[in-house]
Symmetry: C2
Subunit: 215 residues, 2 copies
Protein backbone atom coordinates (compact mmCIF):
# COMPACT_ATOMS: atom_id res chain seq x y z
CA UNK A 1 0.00 0.00 0.00
CA UNK A 2 2.73 2.41 1.05
CA UNK A 3 4.46 2.12 -2.28
CA UNK A 4 1.51 2.68 -4.51
CA UNK A 5 1.02 6.08 -5.96
CA UNK A 6 -2.20 7.83 -6.75
CA UNK A 7 -3.87 10.91 -8.03
CA UNK A 8 -4.22 14.02 -5.86
CA UNK A 9 -2.70 12.08 -3.03
CA UNK A 10 0.30 11.57 -5.27
CA UNK A 11 3.56 11.85 -3.41
CA UNK A 12 6.03 10.47 -5.88
CA UNK A 13 5.61 12.10 -9.29
CA UNK A 14 9.30 11.45 -9.87
CA UNK A 15 9.10 7.67 -9.81
CA UNK A 16 9.44 5.56 -12.98
CA UNK A 17 5.82 4.42 -13.00
CA UNK A 18 4.55 7.99 -13.25
CA UNK A 19 2.53 8.35 -16.40
CA UNK A 20 1.09 4.86 -16.52
CA UNK A 21 -2.27 6.07 -15.25
CA UNK A 22 -2.58 8.33 -18.24
CA UNK A 23 -1.94 5.66 -20.87
CA UNK A 24 -4.16 2.80 -19.66
CA UNK A 25 -7.94 2.81 -20.20
CA UNK A 26 -8.45 2.50 -16.45
CA UNK A 27 -10.95 4.41 -14.38
CA UNK A 28 -11.76 3.99 -10.74
CA UNK A 29 -14.11 4.92 -7.99
CA UNK A 30 -13.31 5.24 -4.31
CA UNK A 31 -16.48 5.25 -2.25
CA UNK A 32 -18.03 4.77 1.17
CA UNK A 33 -21.55 3.73 2.07
CA UNK A 34 -23.10 5.30 5.17
CA UNK A 35 -26.31 3.60 6.35
CA UNK A 36 -27.45 5.70 9.33
CA UNK A 37 -28.66 2.80 11.43
CA UNK A 38 -27.37 0.50 14.17
CA UNK A 39 -27.63 -2.23 11.56
CA UNK A 40 -25.07 -0.64 9.22
CA UNK A 41 -22.69 -3.60 9.07
CA UNK A 42 -25.41 -6.05 7.99
CA UNK A 43 -26.63 -3.67 5.31
CA UNK A 44 -23.15 -3.18 3.86
CA UNK A 45 -22.23 -6.87 3.98
CA UNK A 46 -25.60 -7.85 2.54
CA UNK A 47 -25.18 -5.46 -0.36
CA UNK A 48 -21.66 -6.70 -1.03
CA UNK A 49 -22.92 -10.26 -1.17
CA UNK A 50 -25.51 -9.37 -3.82
CA UNK A 51 -23.09 -7.37 -5.97
CA UNK A 52 -21.02 -8.99 -8.70
CA UNK A 53 -17.57 -7.40 -8.56
CA UNK A 54 -15.90 -9.78 -11.01
CA UNK A 55 -15.39 -7.00 -13.57
CA UNK A 56 -13.42 -4.72 -11.25
CA UNK A 57 -10.33 -4.79 -9.10
CA UNK A 58 -11.22 -3.99 -5.51
CA UNK A 59 -9.56 -2.95 -2.26
CA UNK A 60 -11.15 -2.01 1.07
CA UNK A 61 -9.68 -0.22 4.07
CA UNK A 62 -11.10 1.30 7.25
CA UNK A 63 -12.38 4.38 5.39
CA UNK A 64 -13.49 3.34 1.93
CA UNK A 65 -13.44 0.86 -0.92
CA UNK A 66 -11.94 1.39 -4.34
CA UNK A 67 -13.07 -0.32 -7.56
CA UNK A 68 -10.86 -0.06 -10.62
CA UNK A 69 -11.31 -1.20 -14.21
CA UNK A 70 -13.06 -0.02 -17.34
CA UNK A 71 -15.47 2.82 -16.57
CA UNK A 72 -18.74 1.00 -17.45
CA UNK A 73 -17.88 -1.85 -15.09
CA UNK A 74 -16.73 0.43 -12.29
CA UNK A 75 -19.94 2.47 -12.56
CA UNK A 76 -22.02 -0.72 -12.69
CA UNK A 77 -20.45 -2.13 -9.52
CA UNK A 78 -20.76 1.07 -7.49
CA UNK A 79 -24.37 1.60 -8.57
CA UNK A 80 -25.28 -2.01 -7.82
CA UNK A 81 -23.77 -1.83 -4.35
CA UNK A 82 -25.82 1.26 -3.48
CA UNK A 83 -29.04 -0.14 -4.96
CA UNK A 84 -28.52 -3.48 -3.24
CA UNK A 85 -28.02 -1.68 0.08
CA UNK A 86 -31.28 0.25 -0.17
CA UNK A 87 -33.81 -0.39 2.61
CA UNK A 88 -37.14 1.36 2.73
CA UNK A 89 -37.09 4.17 5.28
CA UNK A 90 -33.39 3.85 6.11
CA UNK A 91 -31.42 7.07 5.65
CA UNK A 92 -28.27 6.19 3.73
CA UNK A 93 -25.57 8.13 1.91
CA UNK A 94 -22.96 7.16 -0.66
CA UNK A 95 -19.84 9.31 -0.95
CA UNK A 96 -17.49 8.69 -3.85
CA UNK A 97 -14.98 9.96 -6.35
CA UNK A 98 -14.73 8.73 -9.93
CA UNK A 99 -11.33 9.38 -11.50
CA UNK A 100 -9.20 8.68 -14.51
CA UNK A 101 -5.84 9.77 -15.84
CA UNK A 102 -3.79 10.47 -12.72
CA UNK A 103 -0.14 10.91 -13.75
CA UNK A 104 0.97 8.81 -10.78
CA UNK A 105 -1.63 6.09 -11.09
CA UNK A 106 -0.42 2.50 -10.78
CA UNK A 107 -1.55 -1.05 -10.03
CA UNK A 108 -5.02 -2.49 -9.63
CA UNK A 109 -5.29 -2.83 -13.38
CA UNK A 110 -5.84 -6.56 -13.59
CA UNK A 111 -9.27 -6.61 -15.24
CA UNK A 112 -8.84 -4.37 -18.26
CA UNK A 113 -9.55 -7.18 -20.73
CA UNK A 114 -13.14 -7.49 -19.61
CA UNK A 115 -15.76 -6.99 -22.33
CA UNK A 116 -19.51 -7.43 -22.71
CA UNK A 117 -22.56 -6.65 -20.59
CA UNK A 118 -21.98 -5.12 -17.15
CA UNK A 119 -22.58 -7.99 -14.73
CA UNK A 120 -25.06 -6.21 -12.42
CA UNK A 121 -27.03 -4.30 -15.06
CA UNK A 122 -29.97 -6.66 -15.37
CA UNK A 123 -30.26 -7.46 -11.66
CA UNK A 124 -30.60 -3.83 -10.52
CA UNK A 125 -32.42 -2.30 -13.51
CA UNK A 126 -35.76 -2.46 -11.74
CA UNK A 127 -34.72 -0.72 -8.52
CA UNK A 128 -35.90 2.90 -8.33
CA UNK A 129 -35.96 5.48 -5.55
CA UNK A 130 -35.41 9.24 -5.41
CA UNK A 131 -32.04 10.64 -4.34
CA UNK A 132 -30.48 13.98 -3.58
CA UNK A 133 -27.00 14.30 -5.04
CA UNK A 134 -24.21 16.86 -4.93
CA UNK A 135 -21.17 16.74 -7.16
CA UNK A 136 -17.96 18.63 -7.77
CA UNK A 137 -15.88 18.06 -10.87
CA UNK A 138 -12.13 18.67 -11.04
CA UNK A 139 -10.60 18.71 -14.52
CA UNK A 140 -6.93 18.88 -13.47
CA UNK A 141 -4.10 20.88 -14.99
CA UNK A 142 -6.41 22.73 -17.40
CA UNK A 143 -6.47 26.52 -17.28
CA UNK A 144 -10.01 26.55 -18.71
CA UNK A 145 -11.43 24.07 -16.23
CA UNK A 146 -14.40 26.32 -15.49
CA UNK A 147 -15.64 25.87 -19.08
CA UNK A 148 -15.64 22.10 -18.73
CA UNK A 149 -17.57 22.38 -15.47
CA UNK A 150 -20.14 24.64 -17.08
CA UNK A 151 -20.66 22.08 -19.88
CA UNK A 152 -21.56 19.27 -17.52
CA UNK A 153 -23.90 21.60 -15.60
CA UNK A 154 -25.91 22.01 -18.79
CA UNK A 155 -25.82 18.25 -19.34
CA UNK A 156 -27.61 17.89 -15.99
CA UNK A 157 -30.17 20.48 -17.04
CA UNK A 158 -30.78 18.68 -20.32
CA UNK A 159 -31.20 15.41 -18.42
CA UNK A 160 -33.97 16.95 -16.29
CA UNK A 161 -31.99 16.67 -13.06
CA UNK A 162 -32.69 20.28 -12.01
CA UNK A 163 -29.11 21.33 -11.26
CA UNK A 164 -28.70 24.06 -8.66
CA UNK A 165 -25.38 25.68 -7.89
CA UNK A 166 -24.49 25.69 -4.21
CA UNK A 167 -21.23 26.73 -2.60
CA UNK A 168 -18.47 24.36 -3.77
CA UNK A 169 -20.80 21.94 -5.56
CA UNK A 170 -23.79 21.37 -7.81
CA UNK A 171 -26.97 19.81 -6.49
CA UNK A 172 -29.09 17.50 -8.65
CA UNK A 173 -32.27 15.55 -7.90
CA UNK A 174 -33.80 12.53 -9.54
CA UNK A 175 -34.29 8.81 -9.66
CA UNK A 176 -31.19 6.94 -8.55
CA UNK A 177 -30.82 5.32 -11.99
CA UNK A 178 -30.87 8.66 -13.79
CA UNK A 179 -28.36 10.13 -11.34
CA UNK A 180 -25.91 7.26 -11.92
CA UNK A 181 -26.43 7.56 -15.69
CA UNK A 182 -25.54 11.24 -15.42
CA UNK A 183 -22.42 10.68 -13.30
CA UNK A 184 -21.23 8.10 -15.82
CA UNK A 185 -21.96 10.51 -18.69
CA UNK A 186 -19.87 13.20 -17.00
CA UNK A 187 -16.93 10.79 -16.83
CA UNK A 188 -17.41 9.91 -20.50
CA UNK A 189 -17.53 13.62 -21.35
CA UNK A 190 -14.23 14.16 -19.51
CA UNK A 191 -12.74 11.25 -21.48
CA UNK A 192 -13.69 13.02 -24.70
CA UNK A 193 -12.45 16.48 -23.66
CA UNK A 194 -9.13 16.88 -25.44
CA UNK A 195 -7.71 19.38 -22.95
CA UNK A 196 -8.48 17.23 -19.90
CA UNK A 197 -6.04 14.39 -19.25
CA UNK A 198 -6.92 13.80 -15.62
CA UNK A 199 -10.21 14.36 -13.85
CA UNK A 200 -11.85 13.59 -10.55
CA UNK A 201 -15.60 13.71 -9.98
CA UNK A 202 -16.65 13.81 -6.34
CA UNK A 203 -20.25 13.01 -5.53
CA UNK A 204 -22.45 12.33 -2.54
CA UNK A 205 -25.99 11.05 -2.82
CA UNK A 206 -28.50 10.13 -0.17
CA UNK A 207 -31.96 8.64 0.17
CA UNK A 208 -34.63 8.84 2.85
CA UNK A 209 -33.16 12.06 4.23
CA UNK A 210 -35.08 13.40 7.22
CA UNK A 211 -34.00 16.96 6.36
CA UNK A 212 -36.46 19.00 4.35
CA UNK A 213 -34.76 21.50 2.06
CA UNK A 214 -35.40 25.16 2.71
CA UNK A 215 -36.57 26.87 -0.42
CA UNK B 1 -30.06 29.26 -4.20
CA UNK B 2 -30.49 28.82 -7.92
CA UNK B 3 -28.78 32.13 -8.63
CA UNK B 4 -25.74 31.64 -6.50
CA UNK B 5 -22.60 30.52 -8.18
CA UNK B 6 -19.91 28.29 -6.79
CA UNK B 7 -16.65 26.59 -7.37
CA UNK B 8 -16.47 23.37 -9.37
CA UNK B 9 -20.23 23.39 -9.56
CA UNK B 10 -19.90 26.75 -11.25
CA UNK B 11 -22.35 27.20 -14.06
CA UNK B 12 -22.13 30.88 -14.74
CA UNK B 13 -18.54 32.01 -15.13
CA UNK B 14 -19.79 34.74 -17.43
CA UNK B 15 -21.80 36.65 -14.83
CA UNK B 16 -20.66 40.01 -13.42
CA UNK B 17 -19.95 38.69 -9.94
CA UNK B 18 -17.37 36.26 -11.24
CA UNK B 19 -14.06 37.00 -9.60
CA UNK B 20 -15.39 38.11 -6.23
CA UNK B 21 -14.47 34.79 -4.64
CA UNK B 22 -10.86 35.37 -5.55
CA UNK B 23 -10.57 38.84 -4.00
CA UNK B 24 -12.26 38.31 -0.62
CA UNK B 25 -10.47 36.57 2.29
CA UNK B 26 -13.27 34.03 2.46
CA UNK B 27 -12.86 30.29 2.87
CA UNK B 28 -15.55 27.71 3.35
CA UNK B 29 -16.22 24.13 4.22
CA UNK B 30 -19.13 22.01 3.02
CA UNK B 31 -19.49 18.93 5.17
CA UNK B 32 -21.75 16.11 6.30
CA UNK B 33 -21.71 14.14 9.52
CA UNK B 34 -22.60 10.44 9.33
CA UNK B 35 -23.24 8.80 12.73
CA UNK B 36 -23.91 5.14 11.90
CA UNK B 37 -26.64 4.63 14.48
CA UNK B 38 -30.43 4.78 14.71
CA UNK B 39 -29.87 7.76 16.95
CA UNK B 40 -28.17 9.85 14.26
CA UNK B 41 -30.58 12.81 14.41
CA UNK B 42 -30.09 13.32 18.17
CA UNK B 43 -26.32 13.14 17.79
CA UNK B 44 -26.25 15.72 15.02
CA UNK B 45 -28.70 18.09 16.71
CA UNK B 46 -26.93 17.70 20.05
CA UNK B 47 -23.58 18.56 18.48
CA UNK B 48 -25.05 21.57 16.72
CA UNK B 49 -26.44 22.83 19.99
CA UNK B 50 -23.02 22.68 21.65
CA UNK B 51 -21.18 24.36 18.76
CA UNK B 52 -20.78 28.13 18.55
CA UNK B 53 -21.29 29.09 14.91
CA UNK B 54 -21.36 32.84 15.46
CA UNK B 55 -18.10 33.35 13.54
CA UNK B 56 -19.30 31.70 10.32
CA UNK B 57 -22.12 32.05 7.82
CA UNK B 58 -24.04 28.80 7.60
CA UNK B 59 -26.53 27.06 5.33
CA UNK B 60 -27.92 23.51 5.55
CA UNK B 61 -29.75 21.43 2.96
CA UNK B 62 -30.77 17.77 2.69
CA UNK B 63 -27.22 16.67 1.85
CA UNK B 64 -24.78 18.85 3.72
CA UNK B 65 -24.01 22.04 5.61
CA UNK B 66 -21.71 24.81 4.51
CA UNK B 67 -19.81 27.19 6.81
CA UNK B 68 -18.17 30.25 5.30
CA UNK B 69 -15.94 32.94 6.76
CA UNK B 70 -12.29 33.38 7.65
CA UNK B 71 -10.43 30.08 7.54
CA UNK B 72 -9.56 29.80 11.26
CA UNK B 73 -13.23 30.24 12.22
CA UNK B 74 -14.50 27.85 9.57
CA UNK B 75 -12.00 25.20 10.69
CA UNK B 76 -12.89 25.83 14.35
CA UNK B 77 -16.61 25.35 13.76
CA UNK B 78 -16.27 22.17 11.67
CA UNK B 79 -13.85 20.64 14.16
CA UNK B 80 -16.05 21.54 17.12
CA UNK B 81 -19.11 20.01 15.50
CA UNK B 82 -17.32 16.70 14.93
CA UNK B 83 -15.80 16.65 18.42
CA UNK B 84 -19.11 17.55 20.03
CA UNK B 85 -20.80 14.72 18.12
CA UNK B 86 -18.35 12.09 19.33
CA UNK B 87 -19.86 9.22 21.35
CA UNK B 88 -17.77 6.41 22.71
CA UNK B 89 -18.15 3.30 20.56
CA UNK B 90 -20.32 4.95 17.90
CA UNK B 91 -18.94 4.64 14.39
CA UNK B 92 -19.14 8.08 12.79
CA UNK B 93 -17.70 9.72 9.68
CA UNK B 94 -17.26 13.33 8.63
CA UNK B 95 -17.01 14.10 4.92
CA UNK B 96 -16.05 17.60 3.87
CA UNK B 97 -14.38 19.95 1.42
CA UNK B 98 -12.47 23.06 2.42
CA UNK B 99 -12.18 25.60 -0.39
CA UNK B 100 -11.07 29.09 -1.21
CA UNK B 101 -10.71 31.23 -4.30
CA UNK B 102 -13.41 29.97 -6.65
CA UNK B 103 -13.73 32.41 -9.55
CA UNK B 104 -17.51 32.21 -9.36
CA UNK B 105 -17.82 32.40 -5.60
CA UNK B 106 -20.47 34.76 -4.20
CA UNK B 107 -22.57 35.51 -1.12
CA UNK B 108 -22.39 34.10 2.37
CA UNK B 109 -19.64 36.57 3.21
CA UNK B 110 -21.34 38.36 6.09
CA UNK B 111 -18.87 37.58 8.87
CA UNK B 112 -15.53 38.60 7.41
CA UNK B 113 -14.95 41.31 10.03
CA UNK B 114 -14.64 38.77 12.82
CA UNK B 115 -11.36 38.83 14.74
CA UNK B 116 -9.93 37.25 17.90
CA UNK B 117 -9.99 33.79 19.45
CA UNK B 118 -11.96 31.06 17.66
CA UNK B 119 -15.13 30.66 19.72
CA UNK B 120 -14.97 26.88 20.18
CA UNK B 121 -11.23 26.50 20.69
CA UNK B 122 -11.20 26.34 24.49
CA UNK B 123 -14.30 24.18 24.81
CA UNK B 124 -13.05 21.34 22.58
CA UNK B 125 -9.31 21.50 23.27
CA UNK B 126 -9.50 18.59 25.71
CA UNK B 127 -11.34 16.16 23.43
CA UNK B 128 -9.08 13.49 21.96
CA UNK B 129 -9.73 10.28 20.03
CA UNK B 130 -7.98 8.51 17.15
CA UNK B 131 -9.25 8.94 13.59
CA UNK B 132 -8.57 7.53 10.16
CA UNK B 133 -8.58 10.23 7.50
CA UNK B 134 -8.27 10.34 3.72
CA UNK B 135 -7.78 13.51 1.75
CA UNK B 136 -7.48 14.69 -1.82
CA UNK B 137 -6.21 18.15 -2.69
CA UNK B 138 -7.14 19.98 -5.89
CA UNK B 139 -5.06 23.07 -6.69
CA UNK B 140 -7.09 24.29 -9.66
CA UNK B 141 -5.90 25.79 -12.93
CA UNK B 142 -2.24 25.13 -12.13
CA UNK B 143 -0.20 23.02 -14.58
CA UNK B 144 2.19 22.01 -11.78
CA UNK B 145 -0.53 20.90 -9.36
CA UNK B 146 1.24 17.62 -8.67
CA UNK B 147 4.15 19.51 -7.06
CA UNK B 148 1.81 21.27 -4.64
CA UNK B 149 0.23 17.94 -3.72
CA UNK B 150 3.63 16.40 -3.09
CA UNK B 151 4.50 19.28 -0.74
CA UNK B 152 1.54 18.72 1.51
CA UNK B 153 2.22 14.97 1.55
CA UNK B 154 5.58 15.73 3.13
CA UNK B 155 3.91 18.11 5.58
CA UNK B 156 1.84 15.13 6.79
CA UNK B 157 5.00 13.06 7.14
CA UNK B 158 6.70 15.81 9.13
CA UNK B 159 3.64 16.06 11.37
CA UNK B 160 3.89 12.34 12.22
CA UNK B 161 0.59 11.47 10.56
CA UNK B 162 2.03 8.51 8.63
CA UNK B 163 0.73 9.43 5.18
CA UNK B 164 0.11 6.52 2.82
CA UNK B 165 -0.80 6.98 -0.80
CA UNK B 166 -3.88 5.08 -1.88
CA UNK B 167 -5.72 5.28 -5.19
CA UNK B 168 -7.15 8.78 -5.60
CA UNK B 169 -6.29 9.95 -2.09
CA UNK B 170 -3.80 10.07 0.78
CA UNK B 171 -4.48 8.30 4.06
CA UNK B 172 -3.33 9.75 7.38
CA UNK B 173 -3.79 8.54 10.94
CA UNK B 174 -3.67 10.36 14.24
CA UNK B 175 -5.43 12.14 17.04
CA UNK B 176 -8.43 14.07 15.81
CA UNK B 177 -6.87 17.37 16.97
CA UNK B 178 -3.67 16.75 15.01
CA UNK B 179 -5.62 15.78 11.91
CA UNK B 180 -7.66 18.99 11.99
CA UNK B 181 -4.48 21.00 12.59
CA UNK B 182 -2.99 19.39 9.50
CA UNK B 183 -6.03 20.00 7.29
CA UNK B 184 -5.99 23.66 8.35
CA UNK B 185 -2.24 23.87 7.65
CA UNK B 186 -2.81 22.49 4.13
CA UNK B 187 -5.34 25.26 3.48
CA UNK B 188 -2.89 27.85 4.81
CA UNK B 189 -0.17 26.40 2.57
CA UNK B 190 -2.47 26.72 -0.47
CA UNK B 191 -3.14 30.34 0.53
CA UNK B 192 0.60 30.98 0.46
CA UNK B 193 1.27 29.17 -2.85
CA UNK B 194 1.62 31.93 -5.40
CA UNK B 195 0.59 29.78 -8.37
CA UNK B 196 -2.60 28.50 -6.74
CA UNK B 197 -5.53 30.90 -6.78
CA UNK B 198 -8.26 28.37 -6.14
CA UNK B 199 -8.08 25.13 -4.22
CA UNK B 200 -10.39 22.48 -2.84
CA UNK B 201 -9.37 19.99 -0.15
CA UNK B 202 -11.68 16.99 0.16
CA UNK B 203 -11.39 14.93 3.30
CA UNK B 204 -13.20 12.12 5.09
CA UNK B 205 -12.39 11.03 8.62
CA UNK B 206 -13.97 8.43 10.82
CA UNK B 207 -13.77 7.10 14.35
CA UNK B 208 -14.69 3.78 15.94
CA UNK B 209 -14.49 2.00 12.60
CA UNK B 210 -15.30 -1.71 12.84
CA UNK B 211 -13.10 -2.42 9.81
CA UNK B 212 -9.58 -3.53 10.55
CA UNK B 213 -7.10 -2.42 7.90
CA UNK B 214 -5.32 -5.10 5.94
CA UNK B 215 -1.60 -4.63 6.07
Amino acid sequence: MQNESCCTGCSRPDLPWAGRGTSLPIAGCRFTLYPMTDNFIDIILGALEKTDTSAVWSETDALSTVYRGRLPYVADAVKALFLNAYREGVHMALEGQFSKGCPGDVSGDSVLERRGEAPNAAAVAGIHFPVHCKLALYPMGAADYIDEIAKVWYMAKDAGLEPATIHYATRIEGDVQQVFDYLTAVCEQMDKAENVHHYVLHFTMNCNSPTVDEE
